[in-house]
Subunit: 330 residues, 2 copies
């Protein structure tokens, strides 16, 4: 059912139908009525692609997420989608997977669909392949990165102070009498190196020597991964009194490891996660975590993107401050 079909049946020109649909003035009341009856009768909805073609505007926004199964990313996407849908945009959310060339490829797909704005979820998009693909395919579309940043004129970033946030975690552990600390990170995520920096800075400020900065890298952020590495840590260095993990999900594996080894938490071992995710609330004991302000971050991302969509300034960098949520594991 096209605008022409309606026009023919109504005995008017397509342009008249179009004017009725878009509530343009200058149409006789009876004509308007007659057309509206037919529109309703056939449940006519204009084709967004055809309209976009002539209007030169798709009102399409792309949301790219590496892995849509990661809870805090979908939480964030949820907030952003709500906000933009309210404003008449259609959000197409896509999971890219971890491979760099795939992330670049999805940016190409977004160009193909002529999106007017993009959200990149998470620091895993902070890579050269992505930067090049943006320069190549979307050099002037407003892009906002959540928890990350790329130095391009059309890319803005909303980030949280991960380094000083982790420093605060170190301070907390020292305040609880734990000074021999380990730090566990997933080396695939660039933001984790910022967190690691905070760990090192904090430790040194408390007088720790270089060789006492126990850092453990892993390649997979999962419960099992957290379990395994925690087992390894506790075996290699039984003197460790506290562990900071870059994600709650992994920390939760650590909680289980301590449980299986019969190590009381937090008495003999304190554990800290980052994210303030539901996982930390579920486990026993409840996890002390660093709230990365995801809700606020997402809201800001949505509003910065909205400004961009309306043609306002770009290339902003917005910083928010994290907050420790102390629960039962410290």
């Amino acid at each position: 059912m096209t605008i022409y079909d309606i026009a023919r049946e109504a005995g008017v020109a397509a342009s008249t139908v179009s004017r009725v649909i878009n509530n343009r003035p200058g149409i006789k009341k009876e004509t308007r009525q007659k057309v509206q009856v037919l529109l309703k009768k056939y449940n006519y909805i204009p084709d967004a692609a055809a309209r976009g073609l002539v209007m030169q505007s798709t009102r399409l926004v792309g949301i790219l997420i590496v892995d849509i199964r990661v809870a805090h990313h979908t939480e964030s996407a949820f907030v952003i989608e709500q906000e933009l849908t309210k404003r008449g945009y259609c959000c197409i959310t896509m999971g890219t997977g971890p491979r760099d060339e795939d992330k670049a490829e999805y940016i190409r797909i977004l160009e193909q669909r002529r999106v007017e704005g993009v959200i990149l979820m998470g620091s895993m998009f902070e890579t050269d392949a992505v930067r090049e693909s943006i320069k190549k395919h979307l050099p002037r579309v407003p892009i906002v990165m959540v928890n990350g940043y790329l130095d391009l004129p059309n890319v803005s970033g909303v980030i949280v102070d991960e380094d000083t946030g982790v420093e605060k975690c170190v301070d907390l552990l020292y305040a609880r009498g734990k000074s021999r600390l380990a730090f566990v990170l997933d080396s695939r995520s660039p933001s984790n190196f910022r967190k690691q920096q905070g760990f090192c800075d904090g430790m040194k400020r408390h007088g720790a020597r270089e060789e006492e900065l126990w850092k453990y890298e892993m390649k997979e952020s999962s419960v099992q991964g957290g379990y395994d590495i925690t087992m390894q840590i506790l075996k290699e260095r039984p003197e460790i009194q506290g562990i900071i993990y870059t994600i709650d999900l992994v920390a939760v594996g650590g909680v289980r490891a301590a449980y299986d080894l019969g190590i009381p938490v937090p008495e003999r071992l304190a554990l800290v996660g980052i994210d303030n995710s539901i996982y930390g609330e579920i486990c026993i004991p409840k996890l002390t975590t660093l709230d990365n302000r995801l809700q606020a971050l997402s809201e800001s991302a949505a509003s910065i993107l909205r400004e961009g969509l309306e043609g306002k300034v770009q290339n902003k960098k917005l910083m928010m401050f994290s907050e420790i949520i102390e629960r039962e594991s410290t």
Copy 2:
């Protein structure tokens, strides 16, 4: 940058450029080369909307999820998206929110975008508003519902045997010596009433009387909700020996409640969830759960939709069988 810009600079007609782009035969090698150089130079990507218009095919698929924050729905969306993207479709995933009129509205949006197929995630789409909206807006687009079914000629469903699955849980609890059982459900989700039926059937088969079928309804599927209702159950009926919850997430709240009350699990109280989600693996003790075969269900949904997209049969109903995963809470 359009196909005409390329054509002008190459000194050929737009049709020639189009033929180069689509690898059509009958173009001289040198012409092809010359055009390809320009395509690369300007990073030209054809506009999907314009192409879709003339080709009468958008290669767009819509995935509707009530709440993209629910882990098992995004897990499933992830699987489906991967499969369809591989086949050249572009999946637009959208979170509708719980309101019926919004779900119907999103179906309208999908019509506007002229999607060629739709996935509806979860039984919460089993409503009249959705059925009417499909009849109105997408009466001949192949639609597949995951874990639900609507009786329309273009809608297929892949479902799991929730009723007999829950019956198996009842059997397990009886086998573990627990016979005074409670059932907790979220009354907003139609599939939960199928589960409740299984609970009742199972209990009766074991000789329970009608008044011993303790059913508790809640309006919110959350950890806190599970905690609260479990507290209530254990206070009202301290004789309860086992509780079956319709989602792991809620069951996990129950684990915490038992812990806070000092009730040993599974010795004095056995707990069973449904979903086989990560939440159940995280908590201590690990949760016994009913695997709803989500992975397999999603794969089937993707392949049924693919058949539909290729114009094959529709209106299938596929049933899979759930399986108990016994862990530490029974």
